[in-house]
Symmetry: D3
């Protein structure tokens, strides 16, 4: 079995994390999973949505978008169409939930952090790259609040990263690029914390339903990939 | 450990499937998971969306809605707000994918079946009830095409059903109602076919991330619940 | 002359009123005019729209919708299209006006009751069934406020019901179902109170304009039908 | 009893009909009912909506709008709000139905005439003035088609006009201006043809429901008013 | 060289300014530039948009619309399409900026004046006619505030008017009507105050780019035209 | 006089043009005017909008957007708001017109090129950077058509670039960054071709109207800046 990308089954694409990619946001990270490039910015606002007012807790939310020509053929601009697709909304809800799993909202206090994940170039795995990069942007924004004396310790309880896994010709493979994603029968996105806890598991049979044993091997592979991604996150903020 | 609902950990709610609930649709099923009541109708159209024209294949899609007062407090009507929420779109995409996994699109031919799942009363698990009921409505619509001489055999390759599972005070419990859903740390929706193949796995940590061992026990419980639901589907169409 | 429905000219369809059809709403009524089935729920909110704040008066409003497959061929879902049709808005304005005609807004106090009328199955006369069922749901919600000690007497000053009448082959006929509605030249919807006062008269010539004498006979027939409907409303809440 | 306008109970406001008010439309009429001024333009298009294609019939439709400062206080512009109100849609549907009642669609052939009714200044009765003026604009557009050799005879089978009537201090009064409309208990809009046939009757009790005898006297008064309006229409096109 | 309109190169169309054209607005002006007719109304509101609250300053803003049949062929109604075109928004932003250039916002105090410019008939130059008429409507609304004792002096610091110029067969020509606008290579709209200050210059090469010398001659011609328009504005309010 | 940026009055910011910035588009250029960074992609489509079909001509159009956190404080995402602002539409119309001025549409043939200009980071002058970068992206897409044998010569007749100029403390200054833009009384955007022809001139007095002599000095300065920008464009494609 040779993957379309020629990578080994358990091999991630080259992952690069560039901090301070743009200058205005409190956190700004360009994350690259091979040819997939997502700009993740974190914006801090000193108030919370209505349902949280006066509760002494903060909120983390996310929005997601693709530039019209981030894809192989041009996609219509969602702002011009006047609405976000179901896919867009599904992804931004996923990013927000994943990040909230590692933030202590009481420690954050009554402020909201919005993470914008905008895909500059897409080659599969935009949602997993978004989550992985967003966590670094969130980290940087929280460090900024500490530096500004607004927080005494970081509300970030753990790292969180995401990766896709799939079944290619009967073999579990890690971190699918676009051609691989199309060639796999089963596609699974997994969000795991630095300490190994599962935050989200989303598996979909593209063709034939998959067996429990396949699921088990995919989850094991995802776990392995996540630990590498978390190591890269830590290295990026240490650098 | 006593579940809020007083049910045993592996006990489904009372599930009732009423066919021919309304008179115009080619398939019309009221499914009840306890107090959750969803009307699933299947509508057959003799053409397909543009991306499939001339390919000799059919399509199955789904839409989902909640009546404004299906819930404890009134929700704003999506038609009046002028857009469907991200949650609505996420659910209707899930229902569509789940059904397509058990339909032979070539055998269906160039026609589209739209399943509308409208929640009359909500008490947790509206998406799992929707998928389970939708499969029966789809079955009935396909039988109607056979009866009308438009198909010689049913393109339905298998049954598909869905159920939620969660971790309540450390114990995996099956088929969460609304109060249980709020009390569980981890919420997982699982879509499985009659022959035991996984179609979708969607697990979310509401509070603390969950361990692989918890995931395993939840999946096993879901599998058990699905087999009961498929038995009820078969019984409903046999009756 | 034989009506398409085989009913006598002055004969209503079988009318059934089922209270407490769903469990969350303060009033919940399934009303059936033959095959037309509408779920009417009343939701009480302890505040009023901006234009009434601080005036010591309440408000009653209505929203209307049709499930996509309540009709013979599937209608596009208004939430998916992103707007309510002119017909929908016209009907919900009519339902609201009809109900407000029989409510003492001062006695209601600063609270709003929203009536949702959702058509589960349509066979003509959905707006008249909606008004007739909505009045019962409103009654039940008001009784709930009395039972809860929030009101000492019901602000419902009278009953109100609605019925359609039409000219079929020169004869005035009562309560048109869908095939009859298509076959009639003139279609009139009339809203009358229990004490016989007219609240709304809406007559439209579908083909040739109609004469004053026809109008007179239609109004007399409508009045007769309404008195039967009000008797059924009273019986339903007495039961 | 003295009407707020000092007019006699059965007295119309000064009605003026100015043809060719603007230069581009195939029919262009400024109609004034006292201070209510509506510009009605008829636009001919040589095709029909999809549901009529190939049937050899034409169509007449209407749109309605109010300039933002046609009213006493400025109304938000519907184009800026991004949607037409329910009231706007209800009125334009009424205008369209009223005009279609007097047009022979087979004789019109496969073309559509769109009537735009735009209120320049409002003082009550904008929908009745719109219908009355629209019929003249429609007449002129049809005469243009005859002059151009596209039609041999006019498809306009009769005139149609509209007027409001109301109950003021127990007396039926004709053609309500804005202050009178607010002061009347019952408001009725009636659309009648030149030969006396009823096209639409829309009566609404603003406060107390109204009795059948009141309805009868209002209808008689409306009929009287319409005959004067039709005379003015005929005079306008003769001039 | 003969212009399509037979006017001399530096000749304006007949310009007519009719004040008090409608009765409700605080300022209401019908301005005609030949066959182009725009109704400009000024509406005073005793509050300001959120970004100005509590700053002791006022605001002037504008909205623009075209009646569907103001043009040679019918344009779709923006309210029905559910959005304003880019052109509409561009024009209303231009009108607002032009008027704000001649108003002393501190002297106006915390109130907003909205100018609605609605095109009744279009024959080129609707934006320049709008600005020129809007300034008169604004003047009248401000005089009304003085008459009502709400202002002691007018915040209108100067007059402002606008005109188009273009290059026709190598000659600069003033105030283009629709056929001329189509025939010109370069189209420029210029907004100038009574004292000769430039407020806006918007020049667009329709075909070949234009030379600096052409630009200079166009600007000189525009300046000439504006002085005539300002004289007409002064005469209108003096009358 | 010292500019806020410390640049000389006639000094551009550092301008960088990076070609092939992303991999899918037929032309992909990152243009930087100091801290303003805009990604310009050109997408070729082998058909034209309806109004051009069958005419043997092509079309060039543009869309513009800002990433939510390209600005100092986060702007709401237009896709989430469901509409593009007037400013966005005005800018994308300007970019499109500017590019069309230098393209021979007959030579392009029946194909459309869409330029997307997405602002990654904003510091004033996003529209002028967009036009300048878009022309290079367009150039590259056209070269690709030549390389693919679809065109024999480039339809790009000339280069086009844009720059802002303003009046700062009485001195004309070139290429305003955000703080300078706020400090200037007059803001002018000028679009000029490589051969010195004016394509667009848009000047707005922010405070006091400006004199003809100021306009003249601003235009001369803009012309100087454009010639430098065109040299940089040529150098970029030569490199």
């Amino acid at each position: 079995m040779t993957r379309p990308s020629n990578r080994l089954p358990a091999q991630l694409r080259d992952v690069r994390i560039t901090r301070n990619y743009t200058c205005h946001a409190e956190g700004s990270v360009l994350i690259e999973f091979g040819n997939t490039k997502v700009l993740c910015t974190a914006s801090v606002e000193e108030n919370v949505p209505p349902f949280l007012r006066g509760k002494g807790e903060g909120w983390v939310t996310a929005e997601y978008g693709m530039l019209p020509r981030s894809t192989h053929t041009r996609m219509a601009r969602e702002a011009a169409k006047g609405k976000q697709s179901g896919r867009t909304q599904e992804i931004q809800r996923l990013i927000g939930r994943s990040l909230r799993a590692v933030v202590d909202m009481k420690a954050l206090g009554e402020r909201q952090i919005t993470i914008d994940c905008d895909v500059l170039q897409a080659d599969g795995g935009t949602r997993t790259a978004s989550i992985t990069g967003a966590c670094v942007a969130l980290h940087d924004a929280l460090q900024g609040l500490i530096a500004a004396g607004k927080l005494s310790a970081s509300p970030l309880k753990d790292w969180v990263a995401a990766v896709s896994v799939g079944m290619f010709e009967g073999t579990p493979v890690l971190d699918l690029d676009y051609p691989e994603d199309s060639a796999c029968d089963t596609d699974m996105n997994v969000v795991i914390t630095g300490s190994g806890g599962f935050v989200e598991v989303q598996g979909t049979a593209e063709g034939a339903p998959f067996a429990r044993s396949e699921l088990d091997s995919l989850l094991a592979l995802a776990d392995q990939g996540i630990q590498q991604l978390v190591a890269l996150q830590k290295q990026a903020v240490a650098g």
